[in-house]
Symmetry: C2
Subunit: 158 residues, 2 copies
């Protein structure tokens, strides 16, 4: 399977999030062309600030592989990771990160700050912009739907 295939799987994960009312972000971790973890954002469902797709995927990958060092792994994620998730990528020694859409508000691979460029003890390879349009569209559609629902709710109250 190619980077494109794995990102499409991450998009499928993001779509599950959207269907559950969560901001659509999905992640897949791959090692030696095998999927070791998939996850989608569950912050509202889990009522937990840590429940970003990347963190849930890293947690599962550590459990699956039986260690905290995810050497040889690539993380595919539909949205540029936030500082927490970029930090978790550094801590777990993930080799490579492929992300889709940019996140101008919290993205910490290039948008707000290029966190991995600072002298931490691990520096993953970053590749941004894969299926960027599809990943962005998912987010735009989600927020548009959310605004519509809120508008509807507001008008019912009148």
């Amino acid at each position: 399977m190619t980077d494109l295939d794995y990102m499409e799987l991450a998009i499928e994960q993001a779509k599950i999030a959207a269907s559950l009312g969560e901001v659509p972000v999905g992640a897949v971790i791959v090692k030696n062309d095998s999927i070791v973890a998939t996850a989608y954002n569950r912050r509202e469902l889990d009522k937990n600030a840590l429940a970003h797709a990347e963190l849930l995927a890293i947690d599962r990958a550590c459990k699956r592989l039986g260690g905290w060092r995810l050497f040889g792994c690539t993380l595919y994620v539909t949205l540029e990771p936030c500082p927490m998730c970029t930090g978790a990528i550094i801590n777990s020694r993930i080799d490579r990160v492929v992300y889709g859409a940019l996140d101008p508000k919290a993205g910490s691979c290039e948008s707000v700050i290029p966190l991995t460029e600072f002298p931490y003890n691990h520096k993953p390879i970053l590749e941004g912009g894969l299926l960027q349009q599809e990943c962005s569209q998912l987010l735009s559609d989600f927020f548009q739907q959310l605004r519509k629902k809120k508008l509807k709710k507001t008008s019912y109250k009148k």
Copy 2:
């Protein structure tokens, strides 16, 4: 209870970590003068890159308080948080962070980078250096013991 009292509790947590062979870092989260979570570093025991004291404490606090926004909470931690944990502090909207020792290798409140100074959507109040000497000493003692053990192990092998 005062900041000093809570930091002493965080040090107690760090000591539990040391007794289990983990790098001694401990954390306590407090809201309205009540402890809502305590945790210590369990990275080796859990074989999980996410098992830092701060992340475990934030996870517990979200579960305890029933939401992902930890408004009104103060996090006490014996070591300056890494980028992952500083990001989690931003994401969980923790009001205030009090830390002990500096971490020149991964500290992301001031040492490697002042991460909270960048334009994310939340900026916690930071207070570093409380019981710094005690917190540092715990870490130095732990690593000294570790070196001794390794030396012993090496000489057995001869």
